[in-house]
């Protein structure tokens, strides 16, 4: 296979503590070396003024297929991932039917392979049929390639089941990814419970609903030694708890989605259903606490939480509209605009949270540009100004409150196994 040189870019690879302008050589779909001199035969990709990183890894994506193809398909979702700069994604099993069998895992893997876009890793259900009662056949699912277990946006309600799941996964070394929410506390809530919900008369989802289950899961993880990953953290109370437990050395990890470090509950004053998300947009002090959690690495991972929903579903009364935001294509730009440019995170720290850290949660051989690694590479224009436009979404759905926003920073080139899969002029 021909060789490719990515020239003059600022290569940031936190897995190697690398941050310098250099040339990257790709051969036979793998990273062959750095600082290599020109040999006149390579294909050249000029990355001057750009940032070159390991292909970004998003471990929280809803692909909606099988069952909800009106929202997204594996093909359209993986294409949207590329447009967002991601070369690997992990998809959640909240499909119809849910992914709790080897057949389900195989289906997703094969469809993803045929789509030929980004790599797709499958998260399978923790519980049979995703109904929170009995453990799914985790061993078989591991064997067919599932890399982690979650009931997606359905929290593991039973404390006993959560304990068993953490213990059972120990022998496979797989993580349990939980969305922490005590449903009795949030029940018919539509937004964060606070001053804004009191004024609007909308039922609220108190921060406690998240904090109480976060505390429970951290305690169970400590007790069992199991691997816990807390999905979509949004509350200052949760950040505080995670910080304390991490200080005790338990191997739990935590993730945040961009809406929760960008928007507050005030966004709901327009009653815009695109702001209806779970966990909800919280008040300013929670957003600030989450940003602090990102800065001190209490929160290890930034994930999109991509939840595409067809437009007719969101164009309904607020209580009928489903939760969720399509976010694959805006996540990187929000990280740059809201976290890096204002100085909350530097580039290496931010990139770590989108490459090696998420890869490590699922023990994926991704998120690195070490010599010999697969050439999954993202080329970012850090200063590119662009306006988010619904008609330019690659995703089949455009349910995003960021439509119309002016953002800074965008992926302009994405390589998967050394092949250019996405390019933006």
């Amino acid at each position: 296979m021909a060789s490719l040189r990515i020239q003059n870019g600022r290569v940031i690879d936190p897995s190697q503590q690398m941050d310098r302008v250099t040339n990257l050589l790709v051969e036979d779909g793998r990273i062959a070396g750095y600082d290599a001199p020109a040999n006149g035969q390579d294909e050249i990709l000029d990355a001057s003024g750009k940032i070159v990183t390991p292909g970004l890894v998003d471990i929280h994506v809803e692909l909606r297929e099988p069952g909800r193809e009106e929202d997204e398909t594996i093909r359209s979702g993986t294409a949207a991932a590329l447009a967002g700069g991601f070369t690997s994604i992990a998809c959640t099993p909240n499909t119809d039917p849910p992914i709790d069998t080897q057949a389900g895992v195989e289906f997703v893997r094969q469809k993803a392979a045929r789509a030929g876009n980004c790599h797709v890793f499958v998260l399978a259900c923790v519980s049979k049929n995703r109904d929170g009662k009995e453990l799914a056949e985790i061993g078989s699912l591991v064997e067919s390639g599932a890399v982690g277990f979650t009931d997606a946006n359905r929290p593991v309600h039973s404390t006993e089941l959560m304990r068993r799941a953490l213990e059972y996964c120990l022998m496979f070394g797989s993580p349990i990814l939980n969305h922490p929410e005590v449903l009795e506390l949030s029940h018919d809530g539509i937004m964060h419970e606070g001053v804004t919900s009191t004024v609007l008369g909308l039922p609220g989802m108190p921060a406690d609903a998240e904090d109480v289950m976060t505390a429970r899961d951290l305690r169970l993880a400590e007790y069992t030694g199991g691997r816990l990953h807390l999905m979509n953290i949004s509350s200052g109370g949760s950040v505080d708890l995670i910080r304390r437990y991490k200080a005790r050395g338990i191997p739990a990890t935590a993730e945040i989605c961009p809406a929760n470090f960008t928007l507050t509950d005030e966004s709901l004053r327009t009653f815009d259903s695109n702001c209806k998300v779970n966990p909800p947009l919280r008040s300013r002090e929670h957003v600030d606490a989450c940003i602090d959690g990102l800065k001190d690495d209490t929160i290890d991972v930034i994930a999109s939480g991509h939840a595409p929903r067809a437009s007719e579903k969101k164009l309904q009364e607020l209580d009928r509209a489903p939760f969720g935001m399509a976010s694959l294509e805006t996540t990187l730009a929000l990280v740059i605009t809201q976290l890096i440019k204002p100085g909350h995170l530097d580039w290496p720290q931010a990139i770590a949270k989108m490459t090696i850290n998420p890869a490590n949660v699922l023990k994926l051989d991704k998120g690195t540009l070490k010599v010999g690694a697969a050439a999954d590479i993202t080329i970012i224009d850090p200063d590119r100004q662009w306006r988010v436009a619904a008609d330019q979404f690659v995703s089949a759905s455009q349910n995003s409150p960021f439509v119309g926003w002016d953002l800074e920073g965008r992926a302009v080139g994405v390589l998967v196994d050394g092949q250019i899969k996405y390019r933006l002029d």
Partner: protein, 320 residues
């Protein structure tokens, strides 16, 4: 006679809104414009008895996705007093049950050349959603627990009639504040006109967050009663899916019912109001409901005047 009066009625300069969705966003001038217009209409129609054909040739539609007899009747009568035609639409008998979306339903009705849509829905924000998708004017007749602007207006009009300037007046809203659209609309209207607002009820149903806006929060009715110029007794709702926020009707009545004993501790000129329908014996005892301090029935008459004012003002404002 009323057509001559009609010719003399001037559109207030301060009203430029195409929709009446809430009281929270209104300026003091807009609020006053609505109240003054309602007062004018009440006079011009001899206490809402006669017609005032300012909307002759126009059509209003009542889109009620939630049960209501009195508000629906009031809006219908208000439209007819103004000379408009009225279209009635009820959710249960509509195409919604055939799977038609809310927005499609609204657009279909609008296509029958409706000038004003009056809407009641169980979900906050739905009138705003409607206003974003139709060209006609929209009046919110109650959107879930969010606001009920014409109710707030008629309550304030009633106070204004008897007590004049609201500045410095102490008005207490009593009951399930958390779930009351009437409370929210009243709070914003009263604050804008300078009243001192107290929200009083069980601590599970009255949030301290109201203090952010200068509203006084109280859980004990007897402790605030001697200071109140006006009491507005909200209807307590018993239907709850989850753990009830208070244990029983009896307990509620013990702590919050306006009865003869409590009336003895109240100011001599206290006004007793209620948005209705009242639960006799729960929020209010019959002797108080029918007694000399009660203005409950005046509220109903004023509701007609306020709704006539609201319909006329929005119908006459062009779409921006």
């Amino acid at each position: 006679m009323s057509t001559e009066i009609a010719d003399q009625i001037q559109r207030p300069a301060h009203w430029t809104r195409r929709h009446l969705l809430d009281l929270e966003s209104l300026s003091v001038e807009e609020l006053t414009a609505l109240l003054d217009t309602a007062a004018t209409f009440k006079r011009a129609t001899d206490g809402c008895r006669r017609k005032l054909p300012l909307l002759a040739g126009k059509t209003t539609a009542n889109l009620f996705f939630e049960n209501s007899t009195r508000t629906r009747t009031s809006f219908g009568l208000a439209a007819r007093r103004l000379g408009a035609d009225v279209v009635e639409f009820t959710a249960s008998s509509s195409s919604l049950s055939k799977g038609e979306t809310f927005v499609d339903t609204a657009k279909n009705i609008e296509s029958m050349n409706v000038d004003v849509m009056v809407m009641r829905h169980r979900t906050p924000g739905t009138p705003k959603l409607l206003a974003e998708h139709v060209d006609c004017a929209v009046v919110n007749a109650g959107d879930g627990t969010h606001e009920h602007p014409t109710q707030g207006l008629l309550d304030i009009m009633t106070i204004r009639e008897t007590r004049g300037d609201l500045n410095g007046l102490t008005v207490a809203l009593v009951g399930d504040i958390a779930h009351s659209r009437t409370a929210r609309s009243n709070i914003w209207g009263l604050l804008k006109l300078g009243a001192h607002v107290i929200v009083c009820g069980p601590s599970t149903l009255v949030s301290r967050h109201w203090e952010t806006f200068g509203v006084e929060v109280a859980y004990n009715l007897d402790s605030i009663l001697p200071r109140c110029d006006v009491l507005n007794l909200l209807r307590i709702q018993f239907e709850r899916q989850y753990t009830r926020p208070f244990p029983s009707v009896r307990e509620y009545a013990l702590l919050y019912a306006m009865n003869r004993q409590r009336m003895a501790c109240a100011k001599d000129d206290i006004l007793i109001m209620a948005p209705g329908p009242i639960n006799r014996g729960v929020e209010i005892t019959p002797d108080v409901a029918d007694g000399p301090h009660s203005v409950i029935l005046h509220q109903v008459t004023n509701g007609l005047a306020v709704r006539m004012a609201a319909l006329w003002l929005v119908a006459g404002t062009d779409k921006t």
